[in-house]
């Protein structure tokens, strides 16, 4: 456990990718099996997906830590695992620290009710760094600035293999990855996917930039709509089907109906996962409901039915098509779909255009048709893993903006734990009965109150963060733990992708991808936007039919 704790701790303060890679390579080389394999699992897919950490900590803290001191400490530190690790009362005599494999073995066979006692025992045997690492480990993916891909890149570096060779077998192997390490160290064969469907790294697009347009030739590109779901890869092989997210996470469990639709086929497809009802694509928010659930209920399946819109065909049976051009693959995709027609799927239609002007018009209308933007794909491009330059471009629809008033600010976590960096902002709504003269908001805009419409913590520079932080501290009206209410004085121009109805918010509205576009120090708060203006930006329900391709 300690070498792993030291690795995690050092990773958090190592800024460069190169430095991180060298730490990872050193760790994987020096650590024994099975500990290093469990460490690898922790850095990639997570080790203990279903441990009741929150509940267990609550049980443990009740007997070991004063609740008031815990609350003050948690508020200051900004992170539960770190707070517990730091304030854990150390026993007079600390036992032998556990190895990672002992930790894994103990939790693997633990009943949920036994978890607190086991955890307490390990915490007693570890120093502060070890306690922190253990809690991060149990809490899921430890955020130490290492992506799953970086961990796999370290494996590639230690072995001389290509990282995509590792990614391709990744879903066929399991912790503690003993076979994988044997292969990486030249002492065993490459682990065999054994007939299981595996993930192939996706091809990703660049956001189109001004200079890309200077060399843009309409005849060289196909256009498609950019659908507002999540990018997935469907892998079907040997009677099984799997759905992988763009980062290679296996999300099959959340979408059993899609898995069933592709089982029995032998194919690798690229597409967009959507929620669609009676042929109408639902807002992204609906898909979000499905993504957050690990277990899927019948009601979920009925109310939020999933659908896949196919973009590309990578492998057909035993034939790898990835080196073919997009034009050839498109023909193969259409032919394949014509023959197989799996349920709950269709093909994303190509959008015909002849000139840049036509393309501009299509893009400008994207918002009206409820589409996220356009994709431009070079007809001659092969399917290349990663984000190669010059092949695929995404052209997102223009953002919407509203002038909102800052209402609450919350201290950030991590790097920003001493800054008020998360902002809740609102727009004006008239109140039926004017408040008395003493109403604080009445001063700014009599007869109106602010209702929150969103929350954002990005879009500003470090210098602007410092200025807003100062504003918040100087204009606080009330404080609740890490949150401060502020005088309604500062106007934030908020950019966002969409605004939709949400019963969870007082305003009845919620934003998608809100970020602070500009800070309007100059603008009087009463001139900020109203709830009517915000409602006018809502999309009308979509009418585009599911089977656009046919």
């Amino acid at each position: 456990m300690q070498p792993f704790a030291l690795l995690l701790d050092t990773l958090t303060t190592t800024p460069s990718r190169k430095g991180k890679l060298s730490l990872l390579v050193d760790y994987f080389r020096a650590s024994p099996d099975p500990d290093r394999g469990f460490a690898l699992a922790a850095l990639t897919d997570g080790l203990f997906p279903r441990l009741p950490l929150r509940r267990s900590l609550a049980v443990l803290l009740e007997t070991r830590v004063d609740p008031v001191l815990y609350a003050l400490s948690r508020d200051y530190v900004g992170d539960t695992a770190e707070t517990v690790a730091l304030m854990w009362p150390e026993p007079k005599l600390r036992g032998e620290p556990p190895r990672l494999r002992e930790v894994v073995a103990a939790f693997a066979k633990a009943q949920p009710t036994e978890v607190p006692a086991i955890l307490g025992d390990f915490l007693d045997r570890l120093d502060v760094r070890g306690r922190w690492a253990l809690l991060k480990l149990i809490g899921g993916a430890p955020r130490v600035g290492v992506s799953a891909r970086l961990a796999k890149t370290a494996l590639a570096e230690m072995s001389g293999h290509d990282v995509s060779d590792i990614e391709e077998i990744w879903h066929a192997i399991a912790p503690p990855y003993t076979d994988l390490f044997r292969w990486l160290e030249g002492e065993g064969p490459r682990p065999d996917a054994g007939g299981k469907p595996v993930f192939r790294p996706l091809m990703l697009a660049h956001a189109i930039e001004e200079q890309d347009w200077t060399t843009f030739e309409p005849g060289e590109f196909a256009a498609e709509w950019k659908w507002d779901g999540i990018r997935v890869q469907i892998a079907a092989h040997g009677g099984h089907a799997r759905i992988f997210s763009r980062t290679g996470d296996d999300i099959s469990r959340s979408f059993p109906e899609i898995v069933s639709a592709f089982e029995g086929l032998d194919v690798l497809l690229d597409g967009e996962l959507l929620v669609a009802r009676r042929g109408i694509v639902a807002p992204f928010n609906d898909l979000q409901q499905r993504l957050n659930r690990k277990a899927v209920t019948g009601r979920m399946l009925k109310d939020h039915p999933a659908h896949v819109r196919l973009y590309d065909l990578l492998i057909d049976g035993s034939e790898d098509l990835r080196s073919l051009s997009f034009r050839e693959r498109r023909v193969r995709l259409e032919g394949w779909y014509e023959r197989k027609r799996p349920p709950l799927s269709d093909i994303s239609p190509l959008v015909p255009f002849a000139t840049r002007e036509e393309l501009d018009t299509l893009w400008a209308d994207a918002r009206d048709t409820g589409i996220e933007g356009l994709m431009l794909k070079r007809w001659t491009s092969p399917y290349l893993s990663g984000r190669p330059r010059g092949h695929w471009f995404k052209w997102k629809r223009a953002a919407l903006t509203l002038d909102c008033v800052l209402m609450y600010a919350q201290r950030g976590s991590g790097k920003r734990s001493s800054y008020y960096s998360d902002y809740t902002f609102g727009v004006w709504r008239s109140i039926e009965e004017p408040q008395s003269e003493t109403s604080p908001r009445g001063d700014v805009y009599p007869g109106h109150e602010l209702v929150p419409v969103g929350k954002a913590y990005s879009g500003f520079t470090d210098a602007e963060l410092t200025e807003i932080d100062r504003f918040v501290r100087n204009h606080t009206t009330e404080q609740f733990g890490p949150v401060r209410a502020v005088e309604p004085r500062l106007v934030l121009e908020v950019a966002f992708d969409a605004i939709f109805r949400s019963p969870r918010h007082k305003s009845g509205l919620a934003m998608r991808f809100p970020r602070i576009h500009r800070i309007r120090w100059d603008k009087p708060a009463r001139e900020a936007d109203t709830i009517e203006a915000a409602r006018n930006l809502m999309e009308t329900p979509r009418t585009d039919q599911i089977s656009g391709a046919n």
Binding site: D79, T83, R416
Partner: protein, 340 residues
């Protein structure tokens, strides 16, 4: 001592908008603005300010004030030896070691059979650059609260310096740039490095030279010290360089190619603070008491009334209350609760 004995101390010792005031002695302790008579616990700038009519402090603190604020910083400087008692209009005044930095002292005030100890900033862990904190039995103890949360438990400073020296050995070509406060922390880090066997020259940012030379003059041996400004950057590969924390992110630090940046501070216990500082090598070295030290110290003094000044008062007031003491937060102007 009984609660009765501390009753009413706040009639002769109380906070004002210029700082803590002892009425019968007509003296302010570490005042925030100029006063006719000031008693100064130690030389940090939020405690020792210029412009007072007269200053009573330890000889070392007076030297620090003269170096940092100028020889004319007070109308009159009066040095008092540690442990010696003197009388100010019938109030007995005694300075005893606080273990914070060189010259730092607690101020013991006695009047009408009541005793108050104003500890200033203090710590209990070993520091080779100043005499250790001396607990004094009292009725009212005035304590700082810079690190008053149970998450603060400072590692032994010597092992943190050990990590710094290990990093120097591992990266013999990289300058190690350590941010450290210029009065106290800087000299403690140097002295600890010497104690751990590091005998190469140590290089300093210009802002740290004055106080470091003063420490040497006052009898703290720090080995060979050189100014960064007098050295070619190429000669600093693999060298140990100390600078004010602000200089780490300053253009000044660009002269060092690929440095390992470090920050010696009690705040480095918190990962959020480490990330915020952006340093690669956080060193948990503090000149303030950590949570166990604060509680232990308060209990040792036997005081039944505890006044908590700058820092995280809530937690300490709560914890002392839980232990049956009368603790309250004293809102004093002018102190920084962040410096370490």
């Amino acid at each position: 001592m009984s609660a009765m004995r501390s009753a009413g101390i706040d009639r002769w010792l109380y906070p004002t908008d210029r700082g803590l005031y002892c009425e019968p002695a007509d003296a302010y302790i570490d005042p925030a603005s100029p006063v006719p008579r000031a008693l100064i616990t130690h030389g940090h700038s939020d405690h020792a300010r210029p412009g007072h009519g007269s200053v009573l402090a330890t000889a070392e603190t007076i030297e620090v004030m003269k170096v940092r604020l100028g020889a004319e910083a007070a109308g009159r400087f009066e040095a008092t030896p540690l442990g010696a008692t003197q009388s100010l209009a019938g109030v007995s005044v005694r300075f005893v070691p606080a273990g914070h930095i060189l010259g730092s002292a607690q101020i013991v005030l006695e009047w009408n059979g009541q005793r108050a100890v104003i500890s200033g900033d203090y710590k209990r862990s070993a520091d080779p650059t100043c005499p250790p904190f001396e607990p004094i039995a009292c009725d009212v103890f005035v304590t700082e609260a810079t690190f008053a949360l149970p998450v603060f438990h400072h590692e032994p400073a010597i092992s943190e310096v050990g990590r710094l020296l290990a990093s120097l050995r591992r990266n013999p070509d990289r300058t190690h740039l350590v941010g450290a406060y210029g009065l106290g922390k800087c000299q403690r880090v140097i002295r600890l490095a010497r104690d751990a066997g590091y005998d190469a020259p140590i290089y300093l940012h210009g802002a740290l030279m004055g106080t470091t030379e003063l420490y040497q003059r006052l009898g703290i041996p720090l080995g060979e010290i050189r100014a960064v400004a007098d050295t070619r950057p190429a000669d600093l590969a693999g060298a140990l360089v100390l600078c004010p924390p602000s200089a780490l992110a300053d253009r000044w630090s660009r002269r060092f190619p690929d440095p390992v940046t470090a920050f010696a501070s009690g705040w480095m216990r918190i990962k959020g603070r480490v990330r915020q500082s952006g340093v690669e090598l956080p060193l948990v070295i503090s000149d303030h008491a950590d949570w166990p030290e604060l509680i232990e110290t308060v209990l040792e003094t036997g005081a039944e009334d505890v006044w908590v000044t700058h820092g995280r008062e809530d937690a300490l007031v709560y914890e002392l209350g839980r232990r049956g003491l009368n603790a309250r937060a004293l809102a004093l102007v002018g102190f920084e609760d962040e410096g370490d």
